[in-house]
Symmetry: C5
Subunit: 95 residues, 5 copies
């Protein structure tokens, strides 16, 4: 799983039926200091995470489908926790 | 899932039988400002996306096979939504 | 799926039994201008692709096993099409 | 599997039920000299690894679910060994 | 599958039971000239590969479990061939 920060909602009218009635979030992956880095991902969410929340994402298809109770479906990423606290950064690490 | 922009069609005469009668699109992944970045991917499409459309791609095999109703088959990426709008970029993020 | 160009054959005498009697190709992934970039991958091939051919690769285990009709087996990449033509590069994209 | 070093615990009150009663660790992936590099990952742990331990991580969904005996569940990374020793770095390699 | 060079053994006393009695190798991924690049991976091996051997690695969970006859287990990478020869590098490619 990776750390991400919720950026906002993704709106799509034309989509696969299994994506009806489920919230799609744009999530920014975080680097080892908790800052955003790289391209945003899109994840389904049933934990009602909101913009700015730090979340835990699974990037495995089966794991993500299980998280939202839709197996099988065209889902490969899901919010599985809203993070309260984390020990961050390892002094010796580099980007 | 990731954000991408449809570049165009991919034409292949010699291919696996499961790829007959299904549209193959070249899709450019997008960075956190919505600009193209990196190598294009190839995805199957049953939502009739066209060149220039911003789309949502799944990159998981089972999820992609499910998206087009061909399980199992040699498919690992599919267009699963055409994006209407998205909140883009996080001010503090970097590439 | 990704775009690649066939570099040549890979020869291995000591290998898993499921890899007997199947062609192994070294394939160079391509960037958004159709030029080789990064480390080569190894894929199984039943479409008789040859050196210099532009091909479509699946990088998902189940999808690749299905492509060559050997499920399950220790295979995670397969040539699934030989490309005739593709619309290449998006003017605004960067590496 | 990849090498990582345990950074610390991840605390999340609001999470998927399958993550109840299981330890979540933040783990820093290691480069070829054993130094931290890149963004931390989050893995489940049933081997009681502690901060500073060098560990082996699986990043495959099914493998990780199996490691903790919860199949299926929204888990895609798990600590599967605490490393005692490893031959490190290859003189000719580069980053 | 990717190319790698065996660096040496990985020793772990505290580990998942499915990893008992199976050899764990540290393997350096190779770039398009056959030189080591990036972080080492850890793979299971039943082909008795030794330090310095060039090998073929699968990085898919199911494929790797199948390679060593342990399905399911917390294994996501396995040595599936020892390479005899390979056509290397494509003149026009870049890193």
């Amino acid at each position: 799983m990776i750390f991400g920060r919720v950026v906002g909602d993704v709106v799509a009218t034309r989509k696969h039926p299994s994506h009806e009635d489920i919230k799609l979030l744009s999530v920014q992956p975080l680097d080892r200091r908790g800052k955003g880095r790289g391209a945003p991902l899109v994840a389904v969410d049933v934990l009602d995470a909101g913009a700015g929340d730090m979340v835990l994402l699974t990037l495995d298809g089966w794991a993500a489908m299980t998280a939202v109770g839709r197996v099988p479906s065209p889902i490969d990423s899901a919010v599985i926790a809203v993070i309260d606290s984390v020990e961050w950064d390892e002094p010796e690490a580099r980007d």
